[in-house]
Symmetry: C2
C-alpha cells in the first residue's frame, strides 16, 4: 500500500472539517494502524510519480522502482479549474485535510477581519461567501457556512452582525444536485434558501481573483470563494496505457482492468467504469465496491477461474443541507427533511473506518447539535490576518 | 481582548498534540466563544506591534491605534536559542499549535523515512530523537516519544523495528526538573530510563544542524531534534517603560504594575514578579493568580481604595513521564509513580477551560490508555517526506 499521505481520509465529511464542525483526526486514520494486523501488507509513505505497465513497475519520488504482479490504482482526483489554475489561490477546493484547514481558516478569518474593520463599508466583501458548484460538496459547504453565520456566531461579535453575512451558491445548471431526482433538487433548493443561502442557478463563473468572482450575470465582491465545481483525475491514470476520458480518468473494462493490461486495475475517482450502459459515479460506494471486486478478480486469477464482471449496486445518495435537513434516495425511496437527515448521519457513521472515528464523530455532532457551536473553531497557519 | 490567535491555548498539554495524543481543538478554544456572554468585552484578532505607555495606547499590525485606561500585558514568551536563531529550523520548540503540528509531523515522518530507506544504515539517524532541555516540557516530550516508539508502534512496521529507536534527553545541569525537590528529580530520571529514554545530564548543546546536534561530549546524529531549553519574553515587555531581566521579562512591582506606569500591568511569562524574595515561576498558576490579582487592583483603583499586594501561592507542580508515571509536589506532599500520575491528569482536567475540552481530553486519554494507540497520528502539511 503506497500513499503519499500517512492517513486514510473519509472524504464525504471533509466539508465538516472545513466548516469547523469536526477535527481532522475524527475522519482521518493512520493507514499503518488500519493494516497493522494484516501481516502480509506493507505500508509505504511515498508518492508514485510514474507507472510503467510494460515493465510492470512503479517509480517513487526518490527514484526507487517497485515491481508488481498486480497494480491497483486508486489515486483519486483533485479539483480542477477548467484550465484556469490561477483561480486556485483565490478559490481553494476541498480534497485534502490541508485544503479543509485552509478553507476553515478563510471562513473564520473573514468574520474576524470584518469585526476589525474601522469602516463597515470596508467589510462588505469580507462577509460575502461564494461557493462555486451545486453538487453535494457545494450544497453541504454552503449550508454549513450559513449555519455558522446565522446560528453559531449569534452574540459573539460586537461591531458586526453576522446575520448580515451573504452566503451565495453558484450553479451553472438549472438545478443543484444534478445526479438526484429533480423533485429532490427542488426540495434541497428550498431548504437551502430557508437557511438563508442565496442560491443562483444557471450562473457560470468567468473569472476569480482577490476581489471575488465574475459571473455570466455580473461580478460579486467576496472575501471568501470556495471551489466545488470540477474534478480532474490523478495524472497516473494517463500512464496506465489505457484510454482516458475528458476528466482524465482511465477507461476500464467490465472487470475494472485497464485495456491491454489485465494486471492493472483502476477504481474510484481515477477510473471511468461503465456497468450496463451507466457510468459508475465517482463516489465512495463506487470505490468501495470496486475494491471488493478487484480482490475477487485477483483471487479468481490465482485459482485459474474466469474473472467476475463488476456489478455496481447504487444504494442511494444523500446530501445534508443543515440542521435536521437533508435530501436523498435509499434504494427506491426518496427522502427529504428530518428523516433524510437521520439517514444521512446514521449511514455516514456506519461507513467511518473504525470504532474510534464513529464514536468521536458522534460525540462532536451531538455537541454541535445541542449547543449550536462548532467543535473545531480554530484559525491555524501562518499569521496573515489581512490576506 | 486583543490576541493574534483566535484561540486560548492550554499550553501544559501542548506536548501531547506534538506527540499525537490529543487534537489541537481539544486544548484550544475560541476566545470569542469564551467571552461571548460577557457583553462588555470585545475580542479583536490582531497583533499588537507597539506599546506607548506615555500616550497610553497600543498600535496594531495594520497601523490602527487603540487608547487604553489600563493595559494588562500577558503576551507570554517564545522559545529562545541562546543567540543561535539559525538552530530553530532544525530544532522546533513548543509554544503554538503550529509548533506542535510541526513536531508531530517530524516525529511521525522519521519512522516513515526509516521504513522506506533501502539501506538500514541510512536510517540510523532517522530513528534518533534528541530532546534538548530537562524541564517539564522536555521530560514529558521525551517520555511521550519513547512511548510511541516502544509501545504504540509495535507490529506496525515491516522493515524497521521501532524498538531500535533512540530517544535522548539532554540536560545541561546535573539533574532534570531543576525546580523540583532533588529526590523527585532522581525518581523522574529513573522512571524515564525505565521507559527507555537515554538521559544525559551535564551535557550542553554547542550546535544544531540538519545532521543532528553537537554537544560538549560529542556529536549525535539525529533526524529529529526538539528544543525545550530556553525562553525569551515577548518583545512588548521592553516597550512598557519598565526594566527587563535577562530573559526579556519586564520587572513588576508588588501590585504587578510596571514601575512608573501604574496603569500598565504585566502577568504570566512576560513578567518578572517577586513575592517575599522569591520569583514567581513562569507557569500557568502564576499567570492565573496574576490575572485575578490585576482585576482586584483595578477594582480597588475604581473604588478609591489602596491596591492589594500580590500574594503568590505555590500549589505544587507535576510532570508526567509516561503511562502511570509522574512526579511532583502538591502543597507539602511529594508524589511519584501512579499516585502522582493520577493527580497529574485530574488536575489538568480541572484546569481545562470548558466542559467540552475536559470531556474530549478525558475520552482521548481513556482511548490512548486502553488501546496503547494515539488519537491524532496524522502527518499534515506540505508534501516533503525527505526533509
Amino acid at each position: 500500500m503506497i500513499d503519499r499521505r500517512n492517513h486514510h481520509l473519509f472524504q464525504p465529511l471533509l466539508y465538516q472539517v472545513a466548516t469547523a464542525g469536526l477535527n481532522p483526526s475524527n475522519i482521518a486514520r493512520p493507514i499503518r494502524g488500519i493494516l497493522a494486523k494484516q501481516s502480509n501488507a506493507r505500508v509505504l509513505l511515498a508518492e508514485v510519480v510514474k507507472v510503467d505497465p510494460d515493465a510492470r513497475q512503479v517509480s517513487l519520488d526518490d527514484g526507487a522502482e517497485l515491481p508488481y504482479d498486480y497494480l491497483v490504482l486508486a489515486t483519486g482526483a483533485s479539483h480542477a479549474y477548467f484550465g484556469h489554475d490561477e483561480w486556485e489561490a483565490h478559490a481553494p477546493g476541498l480534497k485534502t485535510i490541508e485544503d479543509a484547514l485552509e478553507v476553515r481558516r478563510r471562513v473564520l478569518l473573514a468574520f474576524e477581519r470584518a469585526e476589525r474593520a474601522a469602516d463597515p463599508d470596508d467589510s462588505a466583501g469580507d462577509l460575502t461567501f461564494v461557493v462555486v458548484g451545486g453538487g453535494p460538496t457545494g450544497v453541504e459547504t454552503a449550508g454549513a457556512i450559513a449555519e455558522i453565520a446565522f446560528k453559531t456566531f449569534t452574540r459573539q461579535f460586537r461591531a458586526i452582525d453576522p446575520n448580515q453575512a451573504k452566503v451565495i451558491l453558484l450553479e451553472g445548471a438549472d438545478r443543484i444536485l444534478g445526479t438526484y431526482p429533480e423533485s429532490l433538487s427542488l426540495k434541497a433548493a428550498r431548504q437551502l434558501r430557508d437557511l438563508g443561502v442565496d442560491l443562483r442557478l444557471g450562473v457560470t463563473v468567468t473569472n476569480v481573483d482577490a476581489d471575488g468572482v465574475e459571473t455570466s450575470t455580473g461580478a460579486i465582491r467576496a472575501g471568501t470563494v470556495i471551489w466545488a465545481a470540477g474534478n480532474r483525475a490523478s495524472p497516473l491514470a494517463a500512464m496506465t496505457g489505457g484510454q482516458t476520458d475528458r476528466a482524465g480518468r482511465v477507461i476500464v473494462a467490465a472487470d475494472l482492468s485497464v485495456s491491454g493490461h489485465p494486471d492493472v486495475f483502476a477504481i474510484g475517482d481515477v477510473a471511468h467504469a461503465t456497468v450496463d450502459g451507466h457510468d459508475v459515479p465517482g463516489v465512495a460506494q463506487g470505490a468501495i465496491q470496486g475494491g471488493a471486486h478487484v480482490a475477487k478478480a485477483i483471487r479468481a486469477d490465482l485459482a485459474g477461474a474466469p474473472r467476475p464482471t463488476f456489478r455496481y449496486r447504487n444504494k442511494g445518495e444523500l446530501a445534508t443541507i443543515g440542521r435536521s435537513s437533508a435530501v436523498g434516495t435509499i434504494g427506491p425511496f426518496r427522502l427529504s427533511g428530518w428523516i433524510a437527515w437521520m439517514a444521512w448521519w446514521s449511514i455516514h457513521i456506519v461507513f467511518l473506518i473504525d470504532f474510534r472515528s464513529k464514536l468521536s464523530v458522534l460525540l462532536n455532532w451531538a455537541w454541535n447539535y445541542l449547543t449550536f457551536q462548532r467543535s473545531a473553531r480554530l484559525i491555524t497557519g501562518p499569521w496573515r490576518p489581512r490576506s
